[in-house]
Amino acid sequence: MQQKPAQPESKSFLIDPFVLLRKVYDTVEQLTEPALEKLLTTKRFAKLNGKVMSAILLSHRATRESVSAMLHLWNFPAREDILRLGELTLQLEEKIDKLTDRIDDLEKRMAKSAGGQDGSSGAA
């Protein structure tokens, strides 16, 4: 996208709403931001924030439980069932990784012991 040159404000017939908005915003920010930042770091705000979050979370839980109960009633898998399946897949992946680690470890040990045997027979 090409940048367009700024319009010379002296030749404007209309008030530039963006300049107006910027001025309003800057004034509001200058007046309110320090007080707002101070308020947001108070223990009182932290307590209120916690209560609001708890209320939102309760509503989420209620919705989730209702949907889950409804799906189970119709013999459909709910979110929890699919999650369990996903978790089992991840556990399987971890088991495979552990086996791979053990095989790598065994290979290293075998290579080391084979190297040691060669060295000893050569010396003999």
Binding site: M1, Q3, K4, P5, A6, Q7, K11, S12, F13, L14, D16, P17, F18, L21, R22, Y25, D26, V28, E29, T32, E33, L36, E37, L40, T41, T42, K43, A46, K47, N49, G50, M53, S54, L57, L58, H60, R61, R64, R79, I82, L83, L85, G86, E87, T89, L90, E93, E94, D97, D101
Partner: protein, 367 residues
Amino acid sequence: MEAAGLRSRVAGVLEAAAHYSPLGQGLSLFEHWLDVVSTALGARDAAVGPTPKEVIWRKNKARLYRYERKTPATKKTPVLCIMPLINRAYILDLRPGASFVAYLLSQGHEVYLLDWGEWNDEDRSLTLDALLTQYMARAVRMVAQRASGPLTMLGYCIGGAMATCCTALHTEGLIKNLVLLTTPIDFADAGPFGVWTRPEVFPLQELTSVFPAVPGAYPDIGSKLLQPLPASLGQFVRLEEKLREPRFDRYGWQAMFRWVNEGVAFPAGCYRQWIGEFYQHNKLVRGELVMDGRKVLLANIRCPILNVVASSDVIAPRPTTSAILQHVSSADKEEVIVKGGHVGIVVGKAAAVELWPKVGAWLAARD
């Protein structure tokens, strides 16, 4: 000739009318407004992560990348970058000219990056212990094996805290240097986040039981609340202003806007541990943090350590980030204070002239 002259005169008059009449000005204002909207809305498609890379190992959603070099490495110690859990990994390779990864490659290092990917609900039982032992430890071994020697671990934000824990637990000598970028370690005075997450007010158990993966929007709202107006309406007001400047880097703004607003979900198990053990109980500096059945003791860190702190960091304030050097046993330890914010020091305009050369020189001296 006359017709052509007349046409050009009419065109000139029309152009002048468009320029000076209220209608013409209205049209330019409308065009400018469209520009602001399209820049902001187009940010989600901003091109990011320009440096070519290959996946050398993967597990679950995590990927270990090796960035491609055009020439053989001139430094023997590779750099492994550990990223924060709640952000996208491309911040270290944001755009051409704003890529820390590209800088490290230009300095002759092999660069690897552990990208955690996008966690989902099925990852709810993942803990930081698991990430450390099943993911990071394997990534470290893999990089060290490829380099046939130890590596430099570079952690950013939460990734830095995890890199610190990993270095404290790793005694096999695979980690040669540790570089921390804006990494919170001591949470005794953690600023607003510390106040909001206090055990008596923060519903940690409810949050992690309702959300198997805590949505990225939650930590994001917290970050925005630190500077409510500038982080919300203010960013668009500033965008409008900057779009009038002919040299404004629109694509740079879009890439940054995309990263800031593209948080990833935090697995519930990790979140519980991060907030509970780090923020609420400050177990890491107290020497009480147990991971994988072992105590994470910062005093076990003996490798050279570079701690990069941002002067005006509101996300990880100075008291949280400066503390590490008092607790490690390293003889070679250094703190660098860079002017800027939590993210700005890594990819901002000053990063290329201030932070990157400092880290580059520090690494070169310890290669």
